[in-house]
Amino acid sequence: MKKGTLKQILLITDGCSNKGEDPSAVAALAQEQGITVNVIGILDDDQTEEPMGLREVEDIALSGGGISQLVYKQLLSQTVQMVTKQAMTQTLQGVVNSELKEILGSDQTMEDLDPEKRGEIMEVVEDMGETSDLEVLVLIDTSASMQDKLPTVKEALIDLSLSLNARIGRNRFCIYQFPGKRNKDIQKVFDWSPKLDSVSTIFPKLTSGGITPTGPAIKEAIYQFGKKNLLRRFRRNDAPDVEEA
């Protein structure tokens, strides 16, 4: 099996979208293009019930082939790394399952194998998860209510790069905020980089806006992934560390 690069969008939000197309539909589009969409919904400390606004979170991740989790901000760090890793495993299992279907016939998945064989296959999936390259585009909701949560988000992202950089495979991260300045839906705040340590400097500068254009933001994120791959194709000769997906 060819070693590829896993692509993920990690959406961090605390409310529901109120502008533009349905984020679930856009997430489905992302999955079609091989990009997994994971969503983390941050709860306020005094929230004890599932708020209506965060219903959307699960739907977006479902159609984006990813994982969703609602969490209080104290647990954000652990959740971010867990969601990212679980989504990687899920994607890789999907790849393995489709290979199995080709070998074993139509409806066979890992669960139809006996535990012994499943264990062997799981080892392969784990090896792949440890060694594949990973690209994560982080999409941060910076609408007004998120303002007091941004320091925690920053901590969680630095922690995420610590977890992922312990892997054998390589990582690249970039960060976008939405809404962007001057009515733009999305704005780049941190360009592709293997580490997020240097992220501290940009966080105080994030300003918040009133609207939450989640759908358009995901759409723009897909485009950014595509653009990057296009650029790569031009640069392939100068960048020997970049691998084909």
Binding site: L70, E111, P115, M122, V125, E126, L162, S163, A166, I168
Partner: protein, 306 residues
């Protein structure tokens, strides 16, 4: 590991319920719930032969498979004292839409480390430290790192008192990224090292396990984490003899558990020696001889009886 907020309910098993495995057809009768973690729940059950065992069940099939792989690897390492003994692996088909994976393992009965120390005294600290370092060394030698080493994953089994691992879900191959961790015990959280699986990762957590006995509410990190941990170590009188070893362990100075074990036992030995010679400190001498004797007796007992 994590308190998820709204997760899908695991299969709700009630006492008296029977579970038959799809592949091996073994039947288990559920007795009661023992605990619940990030991946599924653990139940006390009775096997077909009327024996007690622990059954871990989850809707996350792949996580169960991963844990089973670790338990199998430990079984192969022929170290019966590492992790609980694996008895069976199977699926439970509840109905057409619901299928769960489970495994059955040895049921380890015992007490938590902090409770045990509270009742029996700090003289036991050295004993369990040596036992734990021994086990970790065996694990590391066979190419694995424990990962999520924390108070909740340890139990003191009785007669003779022996520290045991009850959850090996975080065990990771050396050189890879730690699979599962808990912030308080994670050197990455404290900014004192990477999350790559190395012997030194476990040794950091080991220190935190023993600190946790004396700081039951744990504590959060401040700016200068190294200084903060050093102060916390210094402040516990019962851990005084091990101060230097602990400081070396949290700053990643030990390359192996065997190395740390040698220094810990040297400390215990020294405590006994200095007790023999300084008559002025009789009380201290009696105390340290006591620590030494108890340590040696139980350590030897645990080595020979297991």
């Amino acid at each position: 590991m994590m308190h998820q907020t709204w997760k899908k309910p695991n299969p709700y098993l009630v006492p008296g319920m029977q579970i038959r495995g799809k592949w091996n057809q073994n039947v288990y009768i559920i007795k009661r719930k023992l605990g619940e973690g990030a991946i599924g729940a653990v139940y006390l059950c009775e096997t077909g032969r009327g024996r007690q065992a622990a059954l871990k069940i989850s809707d996350k099939g792949s996580s169960i498979t991963t844990e089973v792989n670790v338990l199998k690897a430990m079984k192969q390492a022929q170290e019966k004292n590492l992790g609980p003994y694996l008895l069976d692996v199977d699926d439970w088909v509840k109905n057409q839409n619901e299928r769960y994976s489970f495994y059955v393992m040895e049921y380890i009965q015992g007490e938590s480390l902090p409770n045990f120390i509270k009742q029996k005294g700090s003289a036991w600290v050295g004993v369990f430290m040596l036992q734990l370092l021994d086990d970790l060394d065996k694990l590391h030698q066979s190419g694995w790192v424990f990962g999520d080493l924390k108070t909740e994953n340890l139990l003191i089994a009785k007669s003779p008192a022996r520290i045991r691992w009850i959850d090996v879900g975080g065990t990771t191959k050396v050189g890879r990224a730690i699979k599962e961790y808990t912030e308080f015990y994670d050197r990455g959280y404290w900014g004192l090292g990477s999350r790559r699986a190395e012997a030194s990762y476990d040794l950091f957590s080991l220190v935190m396990v023993f600190l946790n006995i004396y700081y039951p509410k744990r504590f959060e990190k401040r700016k200068n984490t190294k200084q903060q941990l050093f102060r916390k170590i210094d402040a516990v009188r019962a851990l005084q003899p091990y101060n230097d070893c602990f400081k070396k362990a949290v700053t990643g100075k030990y390359q192996s558990s065997a190395q740390m074990r040698r220094e810990i036992s040297a400390v215990i030995y020294k405590a006994q020696k200095s007790g023999e010679h300084t008559k002025g400190e009789r009380i201290y001498a009696v105390e340290s001889v006591g620590i030494f004797l108890v340590a040696i007796i139980y350590y030897l007992a645990s080595v020979f009886l297991f």
